[in-house]
Amino acid sequence: MKLFAINTILLFSFLQGFAQGYDYEYYDEEEKRIAWYLTLRNDINPSDYILGTEMGLVNKKRNLAAFFTFDARPYRKGVLEYRGNNQFYQFREERYFLGVGAEYTKGFERLPLAGFVQLNGTYTFGKYGGTEMKPNQGWLVVPRFGVALDLKSHGWLKVGYSYLDTKTYRLEKHRLYIAISGFLTGN
């Protein structure tokens, strides 16, 4: 309890310090309205890890973004597939995702924070080591939502929830989403 109280005080001191001299408009009016940005993002749960990049255009006035994505599992994951009659196959799976998406961001008053909601349509595919057999592939819709910390108009740090079904047999789909973005133009 004591530790929780200390953590809360530290968090608010950090936010207060961060907000000092800060313009509470989520975006500066003088900035260009349309900007390119690049994101490094992670969808994590205890049994899987997906690393990806997102590149897109954001309309700062309307808080809307449209983007392309490429994600991959940065290692070969051991997966079990049931083939009937108590027979299982164990493969080492590589997994990739290519997609497009859109995001809406809503800034909170008097804090450098915003809420975000994102929909990411993506095509997933992969391969198994040592065999011609292929893992499941196809289209997915990945919803994500959470909070974004405005890094003084240089970009965002986002933390939230994502539902990512990799189509891998019996793999947990609920994930923690962590992403860091930076503007490439428009600042």
Binding site: Q87, F91, G130
Partner: protein
């Protein structure tokens, strides 16, 4: 000017001395292929099969009983190898498959050499 000449002289010595010392082999190149398997009470020894290419090719290179959790084989580079082990896990039968290409790389002299690789056939949840 004097300094530039000295640097050029030292650089040329470095370049030519490296070329003089380098004697590249044309290959073929060989390296260790590590195969990791699970050895436990249900599977004190397992039958390992290594194929040239993917397992569907059925081009068998090695087929033997193994009772150690890590085994090494010397293999030729720039070829794809796959390996299969069948485990018993209670009532379940698990066929573990893995495969990858053994690649070559270049050393500082620009000579090719084979890079070792690992096939992982360990049970993911034994």
């Amino acid at each position: 000017m004097k300094q530039a000449t000295l640097i050029l002289f030292l650089f040329s010595i470095l370049v030519f001395s490296c070329d003089d010392d380098c004697i590249c082999d044309d290959g073929p190149f060989y390296a260790d292929m590590k195969v990791k398997v699970t050895i436990n009470d249900d599977n004190p020894d397992v039958f390992l099969t290594v194929f040239d290419g993917k397992m569907e090719s059925q081009d068998t290179l090695i087929a033997e009983w193994v009772n150690e959790s890590t085994v090494f084989y010397e293999m030729e580079a720039e070829r794809y190898y796959s390996a299969v082990v069948v485990y018993q896990d209670g009532n379940r039968q698990i066929t573990a498959i893995d495969g990858r290409k053994m690649r070559t790389n270049e050393d500082d002299c620009g000579c090719d050499y084979a890079e070792g690789m690992t096939l992982n056939l360990r049970l993911v949840n034994p």
